[in-house]
Symmetry: C2
Subunit: 432 residues, 2 copies
């Protein structure tokens, strides 16, 4: 024991908070290195968030896009995985505080991600859940599928119309993907399964205050995305403000869109853990980081991924997307290895290979920097890249199989309603 604790003292202790892309890629870089790593996550799984919208729209099962973190890192004998929620960080004492016991660190990587933000209207959440976790996706799937069940038994035509109206707030990649997927679900997969309603009558409305969809893409691709959405009969309403959200629906400008199913894809707020660091935060709760990804006054604390506000490269914050988190994770890990050997840290530079968003079967936009394109080839590129990055060989086969199946049959494999995960469920029929 004594020899071991002496040995321990010399080995740098690194704590990583969060097993998303940032935390996982940092851990992979630190694997088999002469450091002792503890990775904390409140769930037991790494989630492939870019495909979460497919769980929410019954295309994939939760197990297809999530893998136990413990299993991904099973070869890493120097990495301990702990399933536990972090309460706060004590930067002065270099301690991560959990319910169980404080965990000391020499270096800390904070990669706890973001939740959705309601711009000060947290009471909207119960009516318009967002899409960040598996629980979120299963809850949205339940709401979307139950809306059709409710429409089928509703006798009041207004109630039926309300049940068949779906509003997605926010036309970034998540909003565009959700709107397209709900449209395909309604107009294709469910189209012939009901007696009293025709799911083809479902209205899917995508609203955003910005003047165009996918504002982070170039204007040509925004136009292409809008056209592709309209081919799927999604009503796109840009340049309009959401004023209120409630049990009756969404107030957009002066109009009430009557609906019982609202998806919130409009804003992000960094994990509240950011606050306990005592560093400077922006409006979205992100932590201003230095060029080497550390924070002011704490050269041993790194903040990465959706929680980090990094403006050193372009003057603008880097977007909250997977490649940024992965690259930051790797870079933070390399800087720690360098520092622990007495070498200087290096500055982070994001290698931007472009961005893409899928809109539906055969429909997508891809902005690969050298070339931007929309339609079938963008969709193929999207499919291919997401399969490559999906963690775990088994998941890749399962997802590929389900996609091919969905492509051939237009059906969806995971049309299940179960569970009530959160309060705020509307007091409508079909309660279990």
């Amino acid at each position: 024991m004594n020899a071991e604790s002496v040995e321990r003292k010399k080995t740098p202790r690194i704590v990583i908070i969060g097993g998303g892309f940032g935390g996982l890629y940092a851990a992979k870089e630190l694997m088999h290195q002469p450091v002792s790593v503890t990775l904390l996550d409140r769930t037991n799984h790494h989630l492939f968030q870019p495909l979460l919208y497919q769980v929410a729209t019954a295309g994939l099962s939760p197990g297809d896009i999530a893998q136990p973190i413990r299993h991904i890192l099973k070869e890493a004998k120097n990495i301990e995985i702990v399933m536990e929620e972090v309460a706060r960080i004590d930067g002065a004492q270099k301690l991560v505080i959990t319910e169980r016991k404080p965990i000391p660190y020499d270096y800390l990587i904070v990669a706890a991600g973001a939740r959705h933000s309601y711009f000060g209207h947290s009471e909207w959440e119960q009516f318009a859940p967002g899409l960040k976790s598996l629980e979120d996706a299963i809850e949205l799937r339940r709401r979307i599928l139950e809306a059709f069940e409710f429409a089928e038994i509703a006798e009041d035509p207004d109630e039926r119309k309300k049940a068949l109206t779906f509003v997605v707030v926010g036309a970034g990649p998540t909003g565009v993907e959700m709107a397209g997927a709900i449209a395909e679900l309604a107009h294709r997969s469910l189209a012939d399964d009901f007696h009293h309603v025709n799911p083809r009558d479902a209205r899917i409305i995508l609203v955003d205050a910005a003047p165009r969809v996918l504002p982070a893409f170039e204007a040509k691709l925004s136009d292409s995305a809008r056209k592709q959405l309209e081919q799927l009969q999604v009503e796109v309403r840009t340049g309009v403000m959401v004023k209120d959200v409630g049990p009756d629906g969404v107030h957009v400008g002066d109009e009430l869109i009557s609906t019982r199913t609202i998806v919130w894809a409009a804003g992000n707020a960094a994990s509240p853990l950011a606050k306990s660091l005592g560093a400077e935060l922006d409006r979205a709760g992100r932590v201003t980081v230095n060029e080497d990804l550390t924070i002011a006054g704490h050269p041993e604390v790194f903040v990465i991924g959706d929680m980090a506000l990094f403006t050193h490269q372009t003057g603008q914050p880097l977007p909250g997307v997977c490649p940024v988190a992965m690259q930051m994770g790797r870079h933070a890990a390399k800087n720690i290895l360098a520092a622990s050997e007495g070498n200087p840290m290096t500055r982070f530079r994001y290698n931007d290979k472009g961005q893409m968003a899928t809109i539906g079967r055969n429909r997508a936009v891809a902005d690969l920097k050298v070339v931007g394109f929309g339609g079938f080839f963008a969709w193929l590129a999207w499919l291919f890249i997401h399969l490559i990055f999906l963690i775990g060989f088994r998941n890749r086969i399962a997802v590929f199989f389900q996609w091919m199946w969905a492509y051939v049959t237009y059906s969806r494999g995971a049309r299940l309603i179960y569970g009530v995960f959160r309060p705020g469920r509307m007091p409508e029929p079909n309660s279990k």
Copy 2:
């Protein structure tokens, strides 16, 4: 409209309560017949219950063993599917009462199944959930996987030992399957994923008051099952009574088995809907049915599946297994078609093709009437028959793929912890 309502009057209205094997097979028999059918279920899916234990032990995903009822019966234009919970049955008025509105019937098929029973100790449920629904399976999966996570961070050796002890109460097919699957999960799939505990140390204890496991099988097969369980290092304790269940564990005889994970597979109670029929019930809440599956005084009401007490064939009640429910469903439907054409109903006879239970990889027992056997070939037979009966071609491929994968790699594809579905979760760490 008028012609249609005249037409309606002549068409017998049949209501089926429950979309399990009994209800679904009745519906399939009534498909395309000159009758108007309403199938009510409180969920949107038909569940392949025989494989539910594989969801509870992370081998399969919920979507693999469940299909939307609406989708299975999409070709049946004379069958309306309504996702709604039935409150009670008004046999005098011939009405099924739901939250929404009463549904009138000319013929009624009650196939609402069973829940588990705690022999008057309903307070045990929170500590020892059973396995009937997808929610049950996801809850058990969460508890089983969390037990290992908790053992990994526990510092008190007793707490660690408690976390690594799993007790299955009831050694019928479900209990045997659960015990075998937990043993394989612990000793194989999870074996190398932890740092501080060795899942191979997990104790899996199967207890039953009966003198042997699988009491419905012949003694030779019971012995074979017991030996196969012991090869998987399951401790089998038969002939012992469970006296109490609580947060500390299970009291068996004079002994407390300290555990935080208990699976209840000991008893069944028919759906409480049986009560509202006003018919004679047995201790398990089952309704005594006539030889034609109707109930006393109500030749228009059929009770089938796990809810029915049918003793006319052998003097003993028929077991609560899928083939009984399927055959009863078909027979009730045929009797309704006969009666509606003025023909006499026929008596039901169960065509017993045998029974089987799986114990693990390569391990099972099969009692096929002409021949009974255990081991690899029983396991192959089990695998084959379950694939055949699994509803839906897509599910069959997905399940086959996952089984083959699990067989080759010993890994499990659905090791996810999420959601809290019911109260009674123990106040331990790892809460989300």
